[in-house]
Amino acid sequence: MSLLSLRDVRVQFNTAGGVVRAVNGVSLDLAVGETLGLVGESGCGKSTLGKAIMKLVPVAGGEILVEGVDIAPLNREQLTNMRRKVQMIFQDPYGSLNPRSTVGRSVAQPLVLAGWKADATAERVETLLRWVGLPSDAKQRYPHEFSGGQRQRIGIARALALSPKLIICDEPVSALDVSVRAQVINLLEDLKSQFGVSYLFISHDLSVVEHIADRVAVMYLGMLFEVGGRDQIWREPRHPYTRALLAAAPIANPKLARARQRTVLQGELPSPLNPPPGCPFNSRCPMAQDRCRVEKPALRAVGNGVQAACHFV
């Protein structure tokens, strides 16, 4: 049984301009101990999907199974058990900590809500801060006294408090300096090998995902285009969008960079208010045919453990 299974998950928002289908039928599996990288352009719905799993946005349809239990229809009280298993790390280390709470109070919050006793909580907070490499006097200080990387460590400590099985990382390093980024990623990897925690790693930074993910899911306009092992996808991207995405990532070696073929995507991500009919990528796809403008491709196995949603792969 996989740790997390999404079955045709849909999230929609009613706006003044109409219904935005931010997540439009996503199915995905995440195994125990696995890191799944979820990549895509800004606005493709990857963060919304992460929030839907945390039930921070209303789920319009589909099933979200955590260890086989569908959490989509559950109410707040019934979710308590799930909250212990799934936690989240947020993107903005400046916004994700209450500026008027001490670090100790922020980290202790999940424990307090889970009904831990005061002395056990204090002890656990000490341990958590040590795990993420912060001095133990950090707990009586306020978030503004810390750097971005340190704050992200505080956020990680908070997410780890109840020993979750899955941590949803919503662009955890996007707001950090490159030098600090590596430290935080190494910390996440250390914690994974130490505690066997799984990550759903949401990012638009392909180099980070290449480094940390075991499997990768590529998202575009609310749907998944390609899912598969990281090596398979990096070596041989099947979907034209994945190819364009990987081609857009910079390569450190200038010789290789000059040698490679580049298909540069034209245009912007279409408005999710008014997505093109058929395949949502047809307006920018170099391979688009008439069929793509009518029929929406389904995610199907294309060999090597990779799934892709394109009529022509």
């Binding site: 936690q87 903005d92 994700s96 919050q109 809500l113």
Partner: protein
């Protein structure tokens, strides 16, 4: 450490510092009124209409009945400040409550709360206060409640605006993702971040409340058992041609106190929102 920093920022605004000192003086005066003037301030103690300085026993003179004006001012400070503080507390409690719920939940709750606030804003404040006092009776409690009821709307709007900007911040989402209850999120997470501008507004409502109470008392609708400053002005108005000092002395006391409260409000604004100061 943080507290000293706060005081330092507050004192850097010199007006606020002077204002705070004077308010403190008035507050001490109010607290120790019965020590300085142990007798009832409403008792007749001398000749009527003695001008200030005419008799060294009554440095601020006596009123039309021969009561010591200085004694009445000192005792009146207590009533005036208490009315101001309690009316502001009533307004803050109503305003923060309504604003927090409206801003946090949004949707129809917000619509209903804001239409209600508009309803209160469209009624002329003073007339509303007078109506409530006339219907419920001229007691101190009723006056305080009436002033609170007309003064809560700006606080509600301010609180709502703060909640609107804070409720979708990531630290609030983090609390939601832990399964924290809405009530706890409102009270222990958002409210501490929303309070600084509200505190500034509340300090200004104290000043407004003192003015309201003075107006009510001036019109003769104040609590007859309490010698507030407004009542002294009201009592002296028949003699304003001959003995204008009876009105002027409590009037100046009101003016200075309200001015100081406004200065303190400005200082609090500087100290609580340091980023806005240098604009």
């Amino acid at each position: 450490m943080q507290r000293f920093e706060f005081l330092g920022r507050f004192a850097r605004n010199r007006g606020a510092f002077v204002g705070a000192c004077l308010i403190l003086l008035v507050a001490l005066m109010a607290a120790f009124a019965s020590v300085f003037f142990p007798t009832d301030p409403l008792r007749i103690v001398g000749l009527p209409e003695l001008w200030p300085g005419e008799d060294p026993e009554f440095p601020l003179g006596t009123d039309s009945l021969g009561r010591d004006i200085l004694s009445m001012i000192v005792h009146g400070a207590r009533a005036t400040l208490l009315i101001g503080l309690f009316a502001s507390a009533v307004a803050t409690i109503i305003g923060v409550g309504v604003g927090a719920i409206a801003g946090f939940f949004g949707g129809w709750v917000d619509e209903v709360a804001m239409r209600a606030a508009e309803l209160f804003q469209t009624i002329p404040n003073l007339i509303f206060v007078l109506t409530i006092v006339v219907i419920l009776g001229s007691t101190l409690t009723n006056i305080v409640i009436a002033i609170g009821i007309v003064s809560w709307t700006p606080i509600a709007r301010m609180t709502r605006a703060e909640f609107l900007s804070l409720r979708d911040r990531e630290f609030v989402q983090a609390c939601r993702s832990m399964g924290m209850s809405d009530f706890r999120i409102i009270v222990s997470e958002i409210l501490p971040n929303a309070l600084p501008p509200v505190i500034v507004l509340s300090s200004l409502v104290v000043a407004g409340a003192i003015l309201f109470e003075s107006a009510v008392s001036f019109l003769g609708l104040g609590d007859p058992n309490v010698a507030s400053w407004g009542r002294l002005v009201g009592d002296g108005r028949q003699l304003i041609r001959s003995s204008w000092y009876i009105c002027a002395i409590p009037g100046i006391a009101i003016m200075i106190t309200v001015l100081c409260l406004n200065l303190v409000g400005d200082g609090l604004n500087d100290a609580l929102n340091p980023k806005l100061r240098d604009r």
